[in-house]
Amino acid sequence: MSPPNGSGEPVDRLVDPLFCGEEMELSFGPQHPATHGVLRLNLRIEGERIVGCYPIIGYLHRGTEKLFELHPFFQNVPHTDRMDYVAAATNNLAYVGAVEKLIGLSVPPRARYIRTILAELQRISSHLVWLATHAIDIGAMTPFFYCFRERERVLDLFEQYCGARLTLNCMRPGGLPFDLPAGWGDACRRFCEDYPAKIAEYEGLLTENRIWKRRTVGVGVLSPEAAVDLGVTGPMLRASGVGFDLRKARPYEAYGEVEFAVPVTQNGDTYDRYLVRMAEMRESTKIVLQCLDLLPATEGGPIMAKRPRVLKGPKGEVYHGIEGPKGEIGFYIVGDGTPNPYRCHVRPPSFMNLQALPDLANGHLVADLVALIGSTDIVLGEVDR
């Protein structure tokens, strides 16, 4: 078998008489309630102590990157929906951003604001799914239902905007397919004003809960150096004390015009990753509210850039990454003068973050493993593409 932690170094065996004993191989997944889809982990365990963890992926591989080459630029947006299927809007945004960069389209301000709103709502809904499943993995059942109650409102907003709830297909290279329907802004504002109180509700159940803290504090500590080396991005990176956020580092869409904080914590454990994501949801509501304030000035303005009917990618290559809910989601597109991309490669945050899992899991118990899978926040649709 391949080296369990991917590094080729011998595994650090904790000689704890309680858990020491014969090693057992355990195939954790692909059908398992806590692997968030079809992740399979080949574990080597001593008692319940994990001494080797080897992720096996590919059970959801659909050849998305090849599919991109077979369709014109604007027809590829739905493919991006199906990668990180709980965060379709940010996938759309990353893809159309890359295409706009390649072709050189400039997006009108109204479209930029609306895209920012959609992306931040998507961040909230993605984090809600993360919190719901993470909490239920650790055994707290009730936050799951609370989270899905609020996620429902976000999905309703998406539905009112584009008719879809999950696979949104809500952006186009150069702008947006639709303007906001009447009253949408008010509904969205109402949600964002209610929402911080709901976050307080989740935190009331979890943040200071002694069992929750015992299950998460100090579990799966990811050092800042290891995080950077492994290419970890997003909330996982910021929980390790590296304050890197593409929304601040390379502002895109309307992020340069709004004020928000980038939550950073220092410990890099499961609890800190939880805190960072909770704080991020609060910041997201602030961003949405600011964008809603900026919207009326652009009322009636265009939502689509001036662009030819058939988009042809010029010869050249481009990379565009944005801060998705799970980390940096980036598209690398090569154009060859035809309406189809010559090559399109995705940088999926889930895939990169999953690389950290074996290192995090080594030496912990099986019970911690499910907490760690939850806190890396992976979506297998994106890992396998």
Binding site: M24, P33, E48, I138, G139, A140, R215, L365, V366, A367
Partner: protein
């Protein structure tokens, strides 16, 4: 109606069968059958419904509401489904152990009720008293029988020939050992106060002491409840069947009625632990404040009703826990049992003994 006719029916039976046969065979058998089929099993099935309804309430959803009015027939539908479901035994399972395990879980849980007094002993000699039997070592019997249940979990986990099941079974074993000891020691407190191990005697002693033992033995009560939750594998100590970690733990491979037996055992255990706690700490069938004279109109309510109400308070707390807490980790739970509850229980016995000596001085 049935209750009014019952004494006459019993009287007729007594005359027909003769006193010896009636008191030593028929009456206990009737009580056992009545207890299991008219009390425990219906309570369990409706406890499941109550749990789903209460959890639904806690979790902003409605719970079962399709079968019958307010979902009241849901338990019947569930039982029917479980009865007719295919019952699979994995081809490489150890067959005898696989079959035996669920029975080993259910039987002890039901046997415990034989010594739990639901109502007072009969006022007339030879009357129909509120318990199946009252043995002198009642509490010891409860502890001994409750311990057998874990063999079912271990056997079920081991015989399934599934790694997740095995781990669930091992967790169950470790958990039980960690919790039996403080739980047993926690029961010593009320025993010392009552001076008897008979369950009926303990309730009578609480009447005599004019106080429920939960007040003088708060620490014992706390330890017993924590240990009781762990013993019944309920959240936050539901490690042996932690679904997000071990798929379904020891009963991963079980289906149909055999799974239902495990399920039944868990809920019967919940009720048993609550019933024992009620007897030892909350005055069993006694009404609240048994010594306050002006509350005596409350005596019109039969003792069994008071008993049931107290048990339901415990059961509600169980369900409330499930809606509130995350799950403990295996090693943390063992640390809690050995490092905190055990010394606490020992200290409690010591302090109780000192106070008792001081009072008796």
């Amino acid at each position: 109606m049935v209750l009014a006719v019952l004494p006459f029916g019993l009287e007729a039976l007594r005359e027909a069968a003769g006193d010896t046969l009636f008191y030593y065979a028929l009456s206990p058998a009737l009580k056992i059958l009545g207890l299991v089929f008219l009390a425990i099993l219906p309570v369990i099935t409706y406890l499941v419904l109550a749990e789903r309804k209460i959890l639904g309430f806690l979790q902003v959803r409605v719970g079962p509401n399709r079968v019958g009015p307010w979902g009241l027939l849901q338990p019947i539908a569930d039982v029917m489904k479980l009865l007719v479901k295919e019952d699979t035994i994995p081809s490489r399972a150890v067959r005898w152990a696989f079959v035996l395990a669920p029975c080993l879980v259910v039987a002890p849980a039901l046997v415990i009720f034989s010594v739990v007094p639901v109502g007072p002993p009969s006022s007339t000699p030879g009357g129909f008293s509120g318990f199946v039997t009252d043995i002198d070592t009642g509490v010891l019997f409860v502890i001994a029988v409750a311990t057998i249940g874990v063999y079912g979990l271990i056997l079920g986990g081991w015989s399934s020939n599934n790694k997740f099941s095995l781990m669930g079974g091992l967790r169950a074993a470790a958990q039980m050992i960690s919790y039996e000891v403080p739980q047993g020691l926690a029961l010593v407190g009320p025993l010392m106060l009552a001076g008897t191990m008979s369950m009926v005697g303990i309730v009578e002693a609480q009447r005599g002491a004019r106080v429920w033992y939960v007040f003088p033995q708060l620490v014992s009560f706390f330890i017993y409840m924590v240990a009781g939750v762990a013993e019944t594998n309920r959240n936050p100590f539901d490690l042996p069947e932690a679904e997000s970690e071990l798929v379904a733990g020891f009963h991963t491979e079980y289906s149909g009625m055999r799974f239902a037996l495990f399920f039944l055992g868990e809920y019967a255990n919940m009720i048993a632990v609550s019933a024992v706690a009620t007897t030892l700490f909350l005055g069993g069938w006694l009404r609240p404040f048994p010594s306050v004279a002006w509350l005596s109109p409350l005596d019109v309510v039969p003792g069994a009703i008071w008993f049931a109400l107290k048990v339901f308070v415990f059961l509600f707390v169980y369900i409330w826990f499930r809606g509130t807490f995350p799950r403990y980790r295996f090693d943390q739970l063992m640390a809690l049992g050995w490092k905190w509850l055990l010394p606490l229980a020992l200290a409690n016995i010591f302090v109780t003994a000192l106070i008792k000596l001081w009072l008796a001085r």
